[in-house]
């Protein structure tokens, strides 16, 4: 859990890009495999935005499911955790989605 550190990075970027306006809403994309917990992000966000242009903004988190392709047999698998064993026995998986950690957009006043 490094969610407060991640939230600080979000606030830095948002404040840099909000053109000095108050921010109403921040939309994030958080992948299932990104090692970041949406609940913990929300909790830290409310605390860490206090006193900044982002204070009181709502935080929308779009969760992205994980998927990967087996490097041995090319089967595409759904991933709930950052590793998996393919039917062929292989565990060398190329991630196709799920490691996203992005700020998609913000809404300012």
């Amino acid at each position: 859990m490094h969610e407060l550190g991640v939230v600080m990075a979000i606030i830095d970027t948002v404040v840099e890009r909000c053109e000095g306006a108050r921010v109403n809403r921040v939309v994030l994309q958080v992948g299932k495999l990104s090692a970041v917990q949406p609940d913990a992000l929300r909790f830290c966000f409310d605390l860490a935005t206090e006193g900044s242009l982002v204070e009181g903004a709502s935080l929308d988190i779009v969760e992205v499911p994980g998927s990967g392709r087996c490097r041995t047999c090319a089967t595409v698998l759904a991933l709930d955790q950052p590793y998996a064993q393919c039917r062929c026995g292989g565990s060398d998986i190329e991630w196709l989605s799920g490691d996203e950690l992005r700020i998609v957009e913000i809404e300012v006043q």
Binding site: H2, G5, T13, F43, Y83, V104, I106, Q109
Partner: protein
């Protein structure tokens, strides 16, 4: 609880109660969102499409470029608290410090105890204290490099803060990531901390001198490691009594001549 990342103790992932707790508090503290009508009237959207850790990544790339330019072999050394990072470095400095031109950046929340140990072993060392922060980031390393000024073609060890969670997310610009796990920690660590073990190039299984005294199945550990990381090499060793260190030195020498 660590105030930079909110991590509570050693195994935050193992404590589902913590997450539930957060959910409750987060919901209670959230202000009511403005109504849709209000929003549409007043607000303007700005598309960012930016990776959250982009700033760290940019600085890490700068560090990586500098390392490549100077042929410095930079190694990010990670483990849980007390797995033996500093003990490994002390022995490595004593036995190969001059041959490899070893320099060390020590990351700890507080104290310069580890830097003192490295200096006593005979290497140039810089202590970075992260305060409440539970990991090193690329900017700290950039500042440390300006101060330490590692020589051309040296081997730079960066001992990260003892923590298997947060440091996994922060690229420092290193060439290689080495994770230490000790036999006293149990075989399940690769599965419990998959991000850490997934992202590393080499795993040192330390404290093998204790194998007669603790229930630890090396083959099971290795199979768990393979599950999360099919490529990382694994070298069993004892930083305390020196068993297995030659294979580690061999790996290091190849890394350095590869630079």
């Amino acid at each position: 609880m660590c105030t930079t990342c909110g991590c509570s103790g050693e195994r935050p992932d193992d404590s589902p109660g913590f997450v539930l707790d957060l959910r409750g508090k987060g919901a209670a503290a959230a202000p009511p969102p403005p109504s849709n009508l209000e929003r549409e009237e007043k607000s303007r959207r700005i598309l960012l499409e930016q990776a959250i850790l982009d700033k760290n990544r940019r600085i890490a790339e700068r560090n990586r470029g500098w390392f490549a330019n100077q042929s410095v072999a930079a190694i990010n050394l990670l483990s849980a608290p007390g797995s033996g990072k500093t003990t490994l470095l002390e022995r490595t400095v004593r036995q190969r410090g001059d041959a490899l031109g070893i320099r060390v950046i020590e990351g700890d929340q507080a104290t310069s105890l580890d830097a003192d140990r490295i200096a006593a072993a005979g290497a140039q060392v810089l202590q970075v204290n992260t305060g409440t922060g539970c990991h090193l980031d690329a900017e700290m390393i950039e500042r440390a490099l300006a101060e330490l000024r590692p020589a051309r073609s040296s081997c730079l060890f960066i001992e990260n803060v003892g923590n298997l969670v947060c440091p996994a997310l922060f690229d420092l610009g290193e060439r290689r990531r080495v994770v230490i796990a000790a036999v006293t920690e149990g075989e399940d660590k690769p599965l419990k901390y998959p991000h850490m073990f997934r992202g590393c190039d080499l795993v040192l299984l330390n404290k093998i001198d204790l194998l007669p005294y603790v229930p630890f199945d090396v083959r099971r550990f290795e199979s768990h490691l393979r599950t999360v990381n099919p490529h990382a090499r694994m070298l069993p060793l004892s930083a305390l009594n020196g068993d297995g260190m030659d294979a580690w030195y061999g790996w290091l020498e190849r890394e350095q001549t590869g630079s």
